[in-house]
Amino acid sequence: MRATMTPQQIADHFSKRFEGQISDISVREWAEGTKKVPIRSVWMRIPREQIIDAVRELVAIDYPHLGVVSAVDCGDIIELLYHMQVFFGGRHEEIEIIFTVPIPKNDPHVPTITEVIPGAVYTEREKQDMIGVIVDGIPDNRRIFLPVDFPEGVYPWRKDEKGIPDSMIKELWRVGRPEGRPSPAVKVIEKPERVQAISSGDSTGPVNPPEKQGEELLGGEKNE
């Protein structure tokens, strides 16, 4: 047995530990197959100030596996959902814990949880890219999925004026080639390779000079 607590006990534990700050606690079950073995989850809403403590509290119960942090644009607020699992490795014992963290759009900041779960930096970087939530204290502040020349202040998952504008997706034939991209890291080799091969003497097979090739081609056409 890996599990030391039931989903209801985890829910009670958190509501007691973060009294008055946690809301909408619910324990859910879903089952598939003929035996209907339940997949159990605990959902709760936590203010952003408490997220690190909440994750620490979970680590004290069992070190969780962080699946992903997903994000929803809900108008005035953005909701971040931290999907974590505890008690994996037993048989049918796993419990999924989902922390929903509301973040106001006019102050889109959330503290990083990387000091507790180092692997979280990957998904936190994605949230900065995609929904424009600033993760305070993130160890790696670079973009992750969006290209370097993607415009600043545009966030693909936003549903407001900061989302993808029509100009970026409609009538793309008007756009032309992208400009101002960083130059390639590799020097472009100016000489054609064939010429190089002759000068270095590496070539083993016969190499026709371009003029001769052309003549042969023309000759062939004439014969036909």
């Binding site: 994000a71 644009d73 180092p118 990957y122 993808i164």
Partner: protein
Amino acid sequence: MSDAKPSYFLPIGPIHPALKEPINFTLKMNGEVVEEVDFAPGRAHRGIEWMGMRRNPVQILHLCDRICGICGVHHALAFAQAVEQIAGVEVPDRAYYVRTIIAEFERIQSHLLWAGVAAHELGFDTLFHLAWQVREESVDVIEYITGNRINYGIIMIGGTRRDITQDMYPRIERALTYYEDLFAKMADLFLNDKTIHMRCRNTGVLSKQRALELGTVGPTARASGLAMDVRVDSPYAAYGDLDIEIILPEVYGQETVGDVYDRIVVRLYEIVQSVTIIRQCLAQMPEGSVLAEEKYAKLLNGLKKASGEAFGRVEAPRGEDLHHVRMNGKQEAPEMWKVKASTYSNQMAWVDILRGEQIADIPIIVASIDPCMSCTDRVAMVRQDGDAGVITKEQLHQLSVRKTREMQK
């Protein structure tokens, strides 16, 4: 004298068309040894989630099939699982079994594909050809059941679009026997080979603690001794009815190291496990239909009114796939759809397992977590002193092959 050697940067990538997360490595090298690792995914981000949020769930299902060419059905499964929870769709029991059988055949073909790639990266091309030849059998069965070799399109919200009927059993059984008979030979070729042992033992080691902290999943996590498998932990489809256990490297009777060799062990034994799972499914298959609602218009109408949120989690060949869906009952398209593929979780492990290794080991270590390999197609090497040169994939591959040959001497 050796101390004065300046370190230089070795970028690898970035074009990588097969995965959602294409990758660009920048490795800080000291001579032949990797000092630091950095990677930048997203060079060919297709915005599939963005597209999905403008389409209805049935359209998204077919988009899911195309997230990954190798483990497409698992994405469709995870998405269907989430939507069925939100809309309260009752899936017929038989459909769970059909889903499981397809998912396990996909695992067989994915692991064999990986085994071939791994052998090729080591310069063992005979084994690469053998692995890819025997892989054909599973792809043939998938084609026999679904009509397609990839992008099967068999999953539907509320079940599957095709059934596995009694007259198909002999063909499936033939494939299962084929893999059972083959296992001893494959295990001998991969695990008792002196060269593979030399190249893979103690190469790219990931400790159990780091595997946990970095959030790795699937065979990569299990090879480090971290017991986690969604099929056993949170059983979906028919897995709750079956007798399955998490495969750890101990299954081969050796101590867990967490290296490339252990990753081979886990994947090989999972192929056998898949065969037994399919056997169990065929034996226990319940009767009945495989689809809850055959009229798509009615199904879509019901989904349009559904509201709520749920997640779907499945164990894809490379590890956990997680789909989070939120629907608001006002529009056809989901309000939110987040896809978390397995490589998303495993990429962080590269930073740990590449550090301290040699250039010639990069191909096999990068391949060992089972990403798609086209990222090493083109490698450019830039030395800090401005001396620029290019290493093609071929040259990097040759380096790896040469190391194998030297070790064989």
